[in-house]
């Protein structure tokens, strides 16, 4: 599919150019690329906020073409939960609980049912019981974001689309947020599609990676594969995860790896025996 903004005006701009890819059910897919490479544009097609200007996409059996009517998109919007960048901007209700219950009410649940779901989702995203009756505007940034995410989860989506969900959070908040998505992926069986600039998160959580550059898809691969080629990443001005970068630098100083490790765990497992050996020789 392709997407062009403002077709037929002097400000016409091709944001996504003839990309074609497949995302498996229950996978954890990361989309990376520089600012302006078309990631958000691509993402907004996944729940029909944007329609392709040419080509088509199929999500959970819903086919979206340039001619698809907005009316046909109701089910899709419910199946694909979309968490925008800085999602706390969508909060508006008087209490946290009511805000989380907003989406299920829109999709036809009764007030009582919606509140029930809201309570359950608030627990899922680890919001303390005490804040549920407070105004969402009194919470901390990280808590507001949890409320917003719970508000999306309340639609019981099968696919969760996240546009830079950890932007602006402190390291602890970021870690907790990513652990939450991991849990949703593993325990709730959600398909996760995540846009991020954090290569560490790609390495630690994603199994499938799409790389965008100037509206085009330049890589469709696994995270293992992607980070095994540091020179390709460098050529496209992308960074390595910390661990892989460390291992890469070790490799250049003569320690050879079969494949570059992605996580601290893998690196530790590889290095520990070697360090032990060294210890024996030195000792």
């Amino acid at each position: 599919m392709s997407h062009t903004y403002q077709v037929g005006t002097p400000l016409e701009e091709v944001a996504v150019k003839e990309v074609s890819f497949e995302i498996k059910n229950q996978s954890f897919t990361a989309i990376v690329g520089h600012t302006g490479s078309g990631k958000s544009t691509l993402l907004q097609h996944l729940n029909g906020l944007l329609k392709p200007t040419s080509g088509y996409l199929t999500i959970n059996g819903h086919k979206i073409t340039p001619e698809t009517k907005n009316k046909e998109l109701g089910d899709l919007r419910q199946e694909v939960g979309f968490v925008f960048q800085f999602p706390e901007a969508q909060l508006f209700e008087e209490t946290v609980l009511k805000d989380i219950a907003f989406a299920p009410k829109n999709f036809g649940k009764s007030e009582a049912e919606a509140l029930e779901i809201a309570r359950e989702k608030a627990k899922l995203v680890k919001l303390p019981e005490a804040v549920l009756e407070r105004s969402p505007f009194e919470l901390s940034g990280g808590q507001m974001r949890r409320v917003a995410i719970a508000g999306i989860l309340a639609m019981s989506p099968k696919i969760l689309v996240l546009d830079e969900p950890t932007a602006g959070l402190d390291p602890v908040g970021r870690f907790e947020m990513m652990e939450l998505f991991k849990q949703l992926h593993q325990k709730e069986g959600l398909t996760i599609i995540l846009v991020t600039h954090q290569m560490n998160d790609v390495a630690n959580y994603a199994d499938h990676v799409l790389v965008m550059e100037e509206g085009q898809l330049i890589a469709d691969t696994t995270s293992k594969e992607l980070f095994s080629d540091p020179s390709w990443l460098k050529a496209h001005h992308l960074s390595l995860p910390q661990t892989t970068d460390f291992a890469y630098q070790l490799q250049q100083r003569g320690i050879s790896f079969e494949t570059l490790p992605l996580t601290e765990h893998e690196l530790a497992r590889f290095l520990a025996p070697k360090l032990n050996q060294r210890g024996k020789i030195d000792g």
Binding site: P10, G74, G81, F84, Q90, L91, F92, F107, F137, I152
Partner: protein, 264 residues
């Protein structure tokens, strides 16, 4: 939401771009006044030629100007139709109840249409070739004499620049929040009137919250950098009146003379 062309600046380095913003503002307002002096096809022709000349000098494609007219096209057509059907005089071509289609009516319709288009073209030219902040600065400079009678000129101009600066930001914000609420099942375009008005609440509240937060941040940032109002404040961007600005004024003066000569 990039549809609004009125108020959009296009970078460039043409003759019109380089004119002093104050000259451009004076000329734009002056032009709107003299458009009302037109009363026959010769005078309209003269001003159309003037407008065209300015547009060519700006090196901006004509399509941008036409885009500027489009948002107002219904208002224009409505006014034109009123003129066409309710002006009497000259040969009558067609009549139905109070509606008449006459020679003068048609002529008036065409004139009103030209008047609208000329005014919109000229103001679009001003905004396309002048950055919003330069317009705000020019306003302050042109209104400076009003300080004598205690008009808060600097504050007005500051409000104007802040408003202009945040229009695109707020429009982006609106699109974003609308999309976020659409993703939560809100339908902004369908349903009964009551339903649609209700759908606006989840849009307006976040919008107000973000506008207020932004205003507060801005105020803090300004105070932190020692902003104390207009007293004794100098400008970073100085506007300098040059020969070409005077020449432009003289040119419009000549056009006015021609206009008075041609009108009947």
């Amino acid at each position: 939401m990039g549809k609004l062309l009125l108020g959009r600046y296009l970078q460039g380095n043409s003759f019109v771009h380089r004119l002093d913003p104050r000259a451009k503002m004076i000329l734009c307002f002056y032009f709107v006044l003299i458009v009302f002096l037109c009363n026959n096809w010769q005078t309209y022709l003269l001003l159309s030629a003037t407008t065209l000349l300015c547009a060519v000098l700006s090196k901006i494609k004509l399509s941008y100007f036409i885009k500027g007219v489009m948002p107002l096209i219904w208002l224009i057509l409505f006014t034109v139709l009123l003129q066409v059907f309710f002006t009497r005089g000259g040969t009558v071509y067609w009549q139905f109840g109070p509606l008449t289609l006459t020679q003068f009516g048609l002529l008036n319709g065409v004139f009103v249409f030209c008047r609208f288009v000329l005014i919109i073209f000229m103001s679009t030219l001003l905004t396309l070739t002048t950055p919003p902040l330069a317009i705000a600065d020019a306003t302050e400079s042109l209104m400076a004499p009003l300080k004598k009678i205690k008009v808060p000129v600097h504050e007005i101009s500051l409000m104007l620049s802040i408003a202009l600066r945040f229009v695109p930001t707020l429009m982006d914000e609106t699109t974003k929040i609308m999309n976020a609420q659409r993703s939560r099942g809100v339908d902004f375009s369908e349903g009964s009137l009551v339903k649609r008005i209700k759908a606006v609440i989840p849009l307006l509240i976040p919008l107000f919250v973000s506008a207020l937060t932004r205003a507060e941040d801005l105020a803090t940032a300004m105070e932190a950098r020692g902003y104390r109002g207009g007293e004794g404040r100098t400008k970073y961007r100085r506007q300098i009146w040059q020969l070409k600005d005077t020449v432009s004024l003289v040119f419009f003066g000549l056009v006015t003379v021609g206009l008075i000569f041609l009108r009947n």
